[in-house]
């Protein structure tokens, strides 16, 4: 069969599909110009610190607490976005109901709204005098100016990621497998967990990673809703701003570099899983 031949060729490392050189060239060139060169400047600047200074900066108590706040809030926000993103994608692809068009239409709005406006609006809503905050305040939950508030802002800016990475895959997913599973007597939940989720998993993971990364880097909206109290509600990007305000470029880039490396490793893991899954499924 055809597939057989292709496989043999692959093993010998001969590429059948044309365009490798061109797409490699364009990808490397654009990645270089728009991302890697500017990024190298950040590395160079952080490199002005000696190793000792670098370690001192990134392990100072304030900075470490900033990392903890940023990472923990971004993690929870990404988890919430993953659960609801998956749900939204499912509802939008599989069900018909009035208002679906509208729902599908507004998913990207958090991107278009400047983050500062989002932050101001969310704070207005969730402070203990705001429409929603007052209700939560009655049952003793404070949202604005706490880590919960930070998480809410991060959820807001990350809504589109999971929905929009899962949606296209779900649309292309062949329903035959599910139907076959029902036929064989599998329950809904079981079918979802065993048949659908594995197919969606790489996309869900990618969406989770993106939402998480976005949360870590987010500054504009969070800074309004966080109380910015040292050791409690100061996020890492705020500390970068603090350093810049003191004209300590190298310190600022050092803090950013640690964030970047952690996110990079995370992304690398996610991409590896994604690519591994692809091989696993196809072979």
């Amino acid at each position: 069969m055809d597939g057989q031949i292709v496989k043999v060729k692959n093993k010998r490392g001969v590429r059948v599909i044309p365009g490798f050189g061109l797409s490699m060239g364009v990808t490397v060139a654009m990645l270089g110009v728009f991302v890697l060169i500017p990024l190298a400047s950040v590395f160079i600047r952080a490199g002005q610190l000696s190793l000792r200074e670098f370690v001192d900066v990134v392990t100072s108590r304030q900075v470490v607490s900033g990392y903890i706040v940023s990472f923990s809030c971004a993690f929870f926000a990404a988890v919430v976005n993953t659960v609801f993103g998956l749900l939204l994608a499912w509802v939008l692809v599989r069900y018909d109901f009035p208002g679906k068009m509208f729902m599908n239409g507004i998913i990207e709005l958090p991107f278009a709204l400047p983050t500062a406006v989002a932050g101001i609006s969310l704070t207005y809503l969730y402070s203990d005098k705001g429409w929603l905050g007052a209700a939560f305040d009655k049952i003793g939950i404070e949202i604005a100016y706490t880590r919960v508030g930070i998480t809410i802002a991060m959820i807001f800016v990350g809504i589109p990621f999971v929905v929009r990475t899962v949606q296209p895959v779900l649309e292309k997913l062949d329903r035959q497998y599910e139907e076959a599973a029902y036929m064989l007597g599998a329950g809904r939940g079981y079918t979802f967990l065993r048949v659908i989720l594995p197919e969606l998993f790489p996309a869900v993971l990618a969406g989770f990673g993106l939402a998480f990364a976005r949360g870590i880097g987010e500054y504009g909206s969070v800074v309004f809703i966080a109380g910015n109290i040292p050791y409690e509600t100061q996020i890492a990007p705020l500390l970068i701003m603090t350093k810049l305000e003191q004209y300590k470029y190298a310190d600022a880039t050092a803090i950013a570099l640690v964030l970047l490396i952690i996110s990079f490793v995370l992304m690398l893991l996610i991409n590896s899983v994604q690519i591994y899954m692809q091989k696993f499924c196809k072979d």
Binding site: T27, Y124, F156, A206, Y219
Partner: protein, 294 residues
């Protein structure tokens, strides 16, 4: 067997043999299904309402809080219009650049297996994981007075940062991975068998892409472009660092919003934000219309 069921059964005789059986089984599952369905829709609607619709309502309510005339004045202000033009230019540029990049990169990483693909993919994602402030700073450390290319650019009288090119570069940077990110999972899931088959039959690269790859990815591409455009319009952090806030020259809409706000001009700032919301709405409606043609 009712007449209708018999009909589907007969249809399936030539079909895959699945639908008829499902039709028979379905009535048992219908009830809990419906509850699950409405519960899921309900939760989704509630989530979107609380997390998205209400905050947007706050923007609109504030925008109109001083009446229509004040709204119009804020929106028709010449600085607002300048900012709108720049935002438009930056958005179009970043969509164009990132679409080209996204197509090539997703093609490369999903159709060819080579060592280090994971690293490539992770590198492309970097703009997402980097704080926007640092993204802006990266360009300043490259092209600014304190950057390593600063002297060269100054000698040749080329201005990049604190001028329009810097704003565009920063916007491209923060939206860089969007199109790729949308295309990649779909192209990955699709695999490369079809392309390989076509290539073996002697089709050239462009034909393969146009005839085989593209039909699979057009909706993902549309999503990617819309995401990219929306994010480009709203980008604040990176552009804020690099623009210099020159009124009427390097202020994008989000920056203009912030400046109005900082001048204690709250209503106008929300009014200008609402332009962004409307622009996003227009793009999203356009997308729905294209999708409907499907």
């Amino acid at each position: 067997m009712s007449k209708k069921q018999e009909k589907t059964f007969q249809q399936d005789m030539v079909g895959d043999g699945v639908h008829s059986i499902q039709k028979v089984i379905e009535p048992h599952q219908q009830e809990p299904n419906r509850i699950v369905k409405y519960a899921m829709i309900g939760v989704s609607v509630l989530f979107l309402f609380v997390m998205l619709v209400i905050p947007l309502a706050v923007v609109l309510v504030n925008a109109l809080s001083e009446g229509w005339a004040a709204y119009q004045e804020a929106v028709m202000d010449s600085y607002t219009i300048n900012a709108l033009q720049l935002t438009f230019l930056a958005t179009v540029s970043s969509v164009a650049v990132n679409t080209v990049f996204g197509l090539f990169a997703a093609y490369l990483l999903s159709k060819f297996y080579f060592r280090g693909r994971q690293v490539f993919a992770a590198l492309i994602d970097i703009p997402f994981s980097i704080s926007p402030v640092i993204a802006g700073l990266a360009f300043i450390l490259t092209f600014g007075n304190i950057g390593w290319m600063g002297d060269f650019l100054k000698a040749h009288n080329i201005k990049i940062v604190f001028a329009v090119p810097g704003v565009i570069l920063a916007t491209i940077f923060v939206t860089f991975p969007f199109v790729f990110r949308e295309l990649f999972p779909v192209m990955n899931a699709q695999g490369k068998d079809e392309e390989e088959a076509a290539a073996l039959m002697g089709a050239n690269g462009f034909t393969i892409f146009r005839r085989i790859t593209f039909p699979h990815i057009k909706w993902a591409l549309l999503y990617g472009i819309v995401l990219c455009a929306a994010r480009a319009m709203g980008e604040f952090g990176a552009v804020s660092v690099i623009s210099g806030h020159l009124r009427g020259k390097t202020n994008t809409l989000p920056l203009h919003v912030e400046i109005l706000y900082n001048e204690f001009n709250t209503t106008a700032s929300f009014a200008v934000s609402s332009i962004l919301v409307l622009m996003a709405m227009v793009i999203l409606i356009l997308r729905s219309l294209i999708e409907r043609k499907k």
